[in-house]
Amino acid sequence: MSDFSGLNIALTGLTAAQRALMITGQNVTNANTDGYSRQAINLTPVDGVFGPSLWTNSNSVPGGGVSVDGITRYRAEYLEVNAALARGAQSALSTNSSTLSSIETMFGEPSSDALAADLNNLWAGFADVANNPSDPGAREALLAQGSAVASAFNSLSTQMQQLGTDSVNQLSALTSEVNTTAANIAKLNASIQQAALSGGDPSALEDQRDLLAQQLASDVGATIRPGTANSVDVFVGGTAIVSGQTAQQLTLDTTGGTATLDWAGTGHAALVSSGQAGGLLNTINTVIPSYQQGLDAVAVQLKNDVNALHSAGSGLDGSTGLNFFDGTGASDLSLSADIAGQPDKIAAGAVGGGALDGSVALQLSDLGTSTTGADAQYRALIAHLGVASQSAQRDSTMQDQTVQQIDASRSSISGVNTDEEMVAIVQYQNAYNASARFLTAIDQMLDTLVSRTGVVGM
């Protein structure tokens, strides 16, 4: 221990307080930065230097000041993993919910001008023709009502196809975004390793990478696993999309009418069931086809029921065996070419039932109240849609809350509390001042020793 070691102790104190203030400054300025993890300085006391000699012991040696060991980045790995899982589910559920809401809006029920109302008008049209089989006005009106029903089906079908196309486009854009994000995570893993090796502070890089990893979780339901050497591995459906410093690519495959995400390298399907991509895949492969099929079934039921009665009847001009509707589903349902524009060919009466017989039209008008008819099927479809959308909304809201909870927990560890930082500023500023005062004290002592001793009699 030398007389000057006190100066060194003061220096370490000043340096430590300065570094600590810098870190506090970093925290305060990043209080609102997305993905920022608060940092704190690691200080350890430095032991005094003493040689192993007979008359020395550690009790008699003062310490050597303080040393800055590094910076702690507050981060809970398990919360990151949980947050990724919750984010993936949240995106999938909210995508699902918004798809169902779009479909609900398309159907537009209950209202006085959606498909159910068009069907009611059709049955009323048949009843009018039944009451006045020879009235050309009633027949023309019936053709218009039939055509309105057909175009309502066509329009719903087109809108649903459009929603499918939009979803595919969205998924395609998302896939390239995911590939970019995965590549960036791999690059950041590399930079972090380099920074750590060269003794730098990789905190900021780690924050960036973790933010991107959460983004991947939200996009494709990726799961996160801490890797070696400060790196993070990211998995999609059990396969690594980022493993250390290498990233895999996903490609969107839409052959065969369904969409799948495949690994670019192997061509195997990536098992994406969560995240926005999982939600979109569900929309494209399950939700839209199921409502499209439901609507097709209603259209076919309507066509078959009406045609079965209509083709057995006889028109005003004696024509018989004609269909009222043509088509194979909702997308191509139309008035049959046999009767379109030819109101006299509407088979209102039975064959041989007399020129003004309306018995077939009367039977047709009763189809609306059939419990197995198109109307009942359509109501069941709408009920199914309503229930599905309602539960999707609830699931999505609940998942939002889960994510909020996890984020609050993450924030309680990683977030910056301005009050704490203000206290730290006061604390470290005072520490700096105290170290400076200590330096002054040593300086004055040395001054006394150097300048004011040995001057007796001078």
């Binding site: 209950p110 009018d128 020879s134 020129a355 977030g415 006061v426």
Partner: protein, 302 residues
């Protein structure tokens, strides 16, 4: 509403995020209630109330059917009352024919008198023939489903024997016509040949021939009266169904309102409460979010 979890450290950012999420939720609730009130609809999309949606769809289709039935009943009433009036007139004509024939039978009349009565009877026949071709809404009501008249000039039935039916209640059909061959007798035994035979018998002056023809006429009259009472009972039934249908219409409309429309008092109350809650939340959030230690450390370390 999300609560902050019971964690020891709370940060300004997470408080701000929670406050934002909660305010967002309240605003979304508020907008939902405002939509309800302004659109006067409780169910805007099926997911608002899936069961209610199905009820609404069913009720709407029942209202459509009810409207159609109202039109059907009016039409049926036209058919039946026209038939009722016509058959009544025919019965009057037949009674007159009988009176004339009985007059001819008392033997006081010479041939020219008998001929005059016979010619009056011929006149009655053509009046009855005209009545039998009575039309409603452009259709001969006794011709079944045929497009032309019920009887041709010679008194031969040219209609069909098919029923004309109207749906007069959900799932209930009522025959609204009477066919000529039912009301006026089958070919050869019909009302027109009965009057013609009576006319011939009157011309001949034979009391026994007139008796035979009168008995045939009575059979015809009875047939017309039977049809008349049949029509009468159907009209009675139709009237009952009509008032039922009218009250159904009110009930259905009421049901639809109950299902689809919000309880306005309740909705306005909810709106007011939600608005108050939102404003309170805004005020509280504004106070809570703002201060931190920064506001109280005017000059650090000094």
């Amino acid at each position: 509403m999300t609560m902050l979890p019971s964690v020891t450290r709370v940060t300004q950012l997470s408080m701000a995020n929670t406050a934002t999420a909660n305010l967002q939720q309240m605003l979304s609730d508020l907008s939902h209630i405002q939509n309800e009130v302004s659109s006067d609809k409780r169910i805007l999309v099926p997911s608002d109330d899936p069961v209610g949606t199905v009820t609404a769809l069913q009720t709407r289709s029942a209202i459509g059917l009810n409207t159609q039935i109202t039109a059907n009943i009016n039409d049926a009433t036209g058919w039946l009352s026209t038939a009722d009036n016509t058959l009544n007139s025919i019965v009057t004509q037949l009674t007159q024919a009988r009176t004339l024939a009985v007059q001819a039978q008392d033997g006081a009349l010479d041939q020219s008198g008998l001929d005059a009565i016979a010619s009056q009877l011929d006149g009655i026949r053509s009046t009855v023939l005209g009545l039998a071709n009575t039309q409603y809404n452009g259709r001969s009501i006794f011709a079944g489903t045929a497009s032309g008249p019920a009887y041709d000039a010679s008194g031969t039935y040219v209609g069909t024997s098919a029923a004309v039916e109207r749906t007069v209640a959900p799932g209930v059909r009522l025959q609204v016509n009477v066919n000529g061959d039912t009301a006026f007798g089958s070919a050869g035994n019909d009302i027109f040949s009965a009057i013609a035979n009576l006319s011939t018998a009157v011309s001949s002056g034979s009391s026994t021939a007139i008796d035979a023809a009168l008995s045939a006429l009575d059979t015809s009259t009875k047939s017309v009266s039977t049809s008349l009472s049949d029509i009468g009972s159907r009209e009675t039934r139709l009237n009952a169904l009509k008032s039922q249908n009218t009250s159904d219409a009110l009930t259905l409309q009421q049901n639809l309102s109950n299902v689809e429309e919000p309880d306005l008092t309740q909705a306005v109350m909810n709106l007011q409460m939600q608005q108050n809650a939102y404003q309170a939340a805004l005020a509280v959030t504004a106070r809570v979010i703002q201060p931190s230690l920064v506001n109280f450390l005017t000059s650090t370390g000094a």
